[in-house]
């Protein structure tokens, strides 16, 4: 006789199954439809291009758990549960095919290896995962978890579901005593406990358990669209729907001429995908665990932003507010979202890099900012200053008394550094784009001087724009004035068309990201390189030779716009290692888990009035740097330079830690 088992053995009137199934499908569909209706109040957005690539990415993330395993314990139990449930699901599909379509593959070797052995192991895996998950939620209790009754219901429900599955198997095996029982080791083990019971009683228990198991399974399934369980569908879907643009394309363009509304004020102003994001959230809290603002101790949290918007989408207010405006169509700012939260986001991307379901947090902030800035002209005074300065003067540093070319005058005030000023006739290989933050801030000017000296030593053909340089526009876009941003892009496009160069070199990751990615939204294609990469290239080509190796202990701080946005982690480290005697130590939070200096997203202009020192993002990072015991902190971004100098000065009275830029480090080593 062929290895197999009888479906519906011992189950009379299994027809009722279909009634229950129908009810389940109805409840499930209603749930899904309700969510769907909510997403569809949003605007259009195209996310169904490049289907094959999307599929591949989704399968990778789902089956390899790339992001989930960033938290190893969670990654482990989730994989166990996921693996187990997926296999068990396939097992159910096999039965379903046989039962309803007469397609029988449930026999022979397949039955033994898959349907019996593999599924038993899957069940064990699932149970193990569930137990580990329970321990995580109720014993280890990570701070980022929010535990409510439905969590217990789901865990218990799944546990009971899988356990009853084994019990049912055990009962059946006990009564049938089939010869392949050992292929289902757990079931076989359990059948031992039933052997002492009368076969009729066991059969009765089996029947009871079978219906219970079925009902529970269907109940859980029906519960899916009303609970966190929905994530097993929405998560992979959200991964599938992710933006296929490079990370550096931070936000979509705004059609200023035709847009009826600039940015987002109420939920329908967002696209359906941004609303879909809200339901994909599993409340895991990894975003806030890595958010520098949250970690510095503020009451702000990216998860709370997403969940707040979700609550509003579902029509109930998360906060107890009497006014009508917590209805789905009411404004978000000031109701679901405290107003000051809007400006705290540094756009550092830690949340988005961490989120296992690829929720797009930052674009939501930017859309909300666009509305506040462009439609309402209502935003913090200290952020108005850079905008006003950009409009009148072409740089965001209101109150600076330096001109863009002051850094050319060597520190002593007398000798000018001789650098070629680009014009429309002579071609050079490299345009060294200095950037506002480097040129107009005293403490950063040394970076530009060092880079020029290094480029000269290496014999690179380069030039600068000098006073013709105009801000790349990044602060305007981050703060939300896309109109101003576009005028700045056009200004720079004109500047570029008037000079001849092959590559744009910059030491500022914000400018770097702008020119490399965001300007392409306007049809500007440039070859762009960051000074860390360029210096490494020169060193490797032997046009720059390091003579003096640094011996002090160093640590490297990854700038967000170089690291997370552009995945450039190795080049700066390689440069430091070449210039030092191998005495570099990593901070706890480094690489793609680097902790923002607080300067991005308008952060460099945020007022610190009323902000306790420990709650400052740059101070929090300074503490992390000091904890390494290093005497030098190397960074590769002028914003980081400013913010970290400031943060360190605030708490490091003894002056133990110095901040330098990569260029200065190399400059001193040549």
């Amino acid at each position: 006789m062929e290895p197999t088992r009888e479906i519906y053995w011992n189950i009379a009137n299994y027809g009722y199954l279909y009634v229950l199934l129908l009810i389940t499908v109805a409840i499930f569909s209603r749930g899904v439809y309700r969510r769907y209706r909510a997403w569809m109040i949003g605007q259009e957005e195209k996310r169904f291009d490049q289907i094959l690539q999307r599929l591949i990415i989704t399968l990778k993330h789902v089956f390899v758990h790339i992001r989930i395993i960033r938290y190893p314990y969670s990654g482990a139990f989730h994989f166990l549960m996921f693996g187990g449930m997926v296999l068990l699901f396939f097992g159910t599909v096999v039965v379903f095919l046989k039962a309803d379509f007469g397609l029988d593959i449930m026999h022979g070797g397949f039955y033994l290896y898959f349907q019996s052995l593999a599924l038993d192991l899957a069940g064990v895996s699932a149970l193990l995962g569930i137990i580990m998950a329970g321990a995580q939620r109720y014993v280890r209790k990570p701070g980022r978890y929010r535990t409510e009754i439905p969590d217990a219901v789901i865990l218990m429900g799944l546990f009971v579901l899988v356990s009853t599955g084994f019990l049912i198997e055990g009962a059946r095996l006990s009564v049938i005593q089939d010869s392949w029982a050992r292929w289902s080791p757990v079931g076989h083990f359990i059948s031992g406990f039933f052997n002492s019971t009368n076969a009729d009683v066991t059969a009765g228990i089996h029947r009871l358990l079978w219906w219970f198991h079925l009902t529970l399974a269907l109940a859980l399934f029906a519960y899916v669209p009303y609970s966190k369980l929905f994530h097993f569908l929405l998560g992979p879907l959200n991964i599938f729907l992710q933006s296929m643009e490079p990370k550096g394309i931070t936000v979509k363009r705004l059609d200023i001429e035709t847009a009826e509304k600039f940015g987002a004020q109420i939920l329908p102003d967002f696209s359906w995908k941004q609303l879909f994001d809200l339901d994909a959230c599993t409340e895991c809290g990894r975003c806030q665990d890595n958010c520098p603002v949250t970690m510095a101790g503020k009451s702000f949290s990216p998860r709370e932003v997403i969940l707040g918007m979700r609550e509003q989408l579902r029509g109930s207010g998360r906060r107890e507010k009497e006014n009508d405006e917590s209805q789905p169509m009411g404004p978000l700012i000031g109701n679901t979202l405290p107003e000051d939260w809007l400006w705290l986001c540094r756009t550092c991307r830690a949340c988005m890099e961490e989120c296992p379901v690829f929720i797009e947090v930052i674009p939501k902030f930017v859309e909300l900012r666009r509305f506040q800035v462009m439609e309402e002209a209502d935003y913090p005074k200290t952020l108005q200053a850079p905008i006003e300065s950009l409009e009148s003067r072409g740089h965001p540093y209101r109150g600076t008394t330096t001109s863009r070319t002051d850094w050319l005058r060597n520190g002593d005030g007398d000798t000018d550094i001789d650098v070629f000023m680009l014009n429309d006739s002579t071609a050079v290989d490299v345009l060294y784009w200095v950037g506002c933050t480097t040129a107009l801030n005293e403490e950063n000017m040394g970076i530009a001087r060092n880079i020029c000296a290094l480029l000269k030593t290496a014999g690179v053909s380069f030039g600068i724009l000098g006073d013709d340089e105009f801000c790349c526009g990044e602060p305007a876009r981050r703060i939300g004035n896309e109109y101003l941003f576009e005028t700045m892009v056009r200004q720079n496009m004109e500047t570029f068309s008037n000079c001849k160069f092959k590559t744009l070199l910059t030491n500022c990751p914000h400018c770097f990201n702008m020119f490399k990615h965001e300007y392409s939204q306007f049809g500007v294609e440039l070859q762009v390189v960051h000074h860390s990469e360029f210096l490494l290239k020169l060193i490797n080509e032997k046009t720059l030779n390091i003579n003096d190796k640094k011996t002090e202990m160093m640590t490297y701080h990854d700038p967000c716009y170089l690291g997370r946005y552009n995945d450039i982690y190795a080049a700066p480290r390689d440069v430091i290692d070449i210039a030092s005697a191998g005495n570099r130590i990593e901070m706890d939070r480094s690489g793609d888990r680097s902790f923002c200096c607080g300067g991005g997203g308008g952060g460099a202009w945020l007022s610190e009035e009323g902000e306790p020192v420990p709650e400052r993002v740059n101070v929090a990072r300074a503490e992390q740097a000091l904890a390494t015991g290093a005497s030098t902190m190397v960074t590769a971004c002028p914003f980081c330079m400013m913010m970290m100098r400031d943060g360190i000065n605030t708490i490091d009275d003894a002056g133990t830690l110095e901040v330098v830029d990569l260029a200065q480090l190399i400059g001193e080593s040549i």
Partner: protein, 267 residues
């Protein structure tokens, strides 16, 4: 109620000192590619006018500029924050005008515009730092004036202002029409324009007058013998090197410092 806000489009007062240069023959600041902005005190005046408009019905604000073509940027700015009208008196590029001349031109235009209830000017322009045009304009129009106001109200058709003076604040009253010059205060920082309004502002018409339209001739601008005669314009000699005050002890250093400050006419 009709308000005219007189504005000047000037070289950015926040231009970094190292970028500031003089053209000695022309006795003018070098313009080059430097930014030009709306005179900050005129911004304050505009803001006060706008606040008045919000509180009262039937207030019409006309922004008025005497300047070259690029001065229209300031007019667009005024329209962007919702001034009702913009008027540009065209200044020929090579035409130098002193305070008297400017006052004359503005007076002619205001008379052409029609009966005005309130004229508002910034207390001075951030380029020439003279602070004369407002008062001269009041004389030219035979109007009373109050200078350096920081608060303004219209109560029953009369003006009530608060004015910063040495030692305190004066509250003054005046019938309309009257001219005021405005100084900066935390309450009159010019509002940020909404982008949509800025976009509309670019499409609004600007009324233009030439000197000919106003019946003012170039010779009229020279107030006979009183025309401002500029002999020279130069950069003050400045050494950015800090003088570290030496001394045997704190007492000596203090004395030395005070002597130097007195010599510099700061104390």
């Amino acid at each position: 109620m009709k308000i005219v806000v007189c504005m000047k489009h000037i070289l950015d007062p926040e231009l970094p000192p190292s970028s500031f240069e003089i053209e000695p023959e022309k006795k003018q600041a070098k313009i080059g590619k430097h930014a030009f902005v709306l005179n900050p005190y005129d911004e304050n005046a505009l803001e006060m006018a706008l606040q008045l408009k919000e509180k009262k019905e039937d207030v019409q604000i006309t922004a008025l500029v005497y300047g070259e073509t690029k001065a229209e940027e300031s007019l667009r700015r005024a329209l962007g924050v919702l001034a009702d009208e913009a008027v540009h008196i065209v200044q020929e590029t090579e035409q130098q005008t002193d305070a008297y001349g400017t006052a004359k031109v503005l007076a002619a235009c205001i008379n052409a515009i029609g009966p005005v209830d309130l004229i508002m000017c910034g207390r001075m322009a951030g380029d020439w730092d003279a602070g004369l045009v407002g008062s001269l304009l009041a004389e030219a129009l035979a109007l009373p004036s109050v200078c350096f106001i920081s608060g303004l109200e219209i109560i029953e058709g009369r003006l009530r202002v608060s004015r910063q003076v040495e030692g305190g604040t004066e509250i003054l009253e005046s019938p309309l029409p009257v001219l005021v010059t405005v100084t900066n205060d935390e309450s009159n920082v010019l509002r940020i324009a909404k982008v949509r309004d800025v976009m509309k502002a670019h499409r609004k018409p600007i009324q233009q007058y030439t000197l000919k339209d106003l019946d003012v001739s170039v010779s009229d601008l020279e107030q006979q013998g009183a025309y401002e005669e500029l002999r020279d314009l130069y950069l003050p000699v400045q050494d950015n090197v800090c003088e570290i005050i030496e001394g045997e002890g704190p007492e000596e250093k203090i004395d030395a410092l005070l002597t130097k400050l007195k010599a510099q006419k700061i104390l």
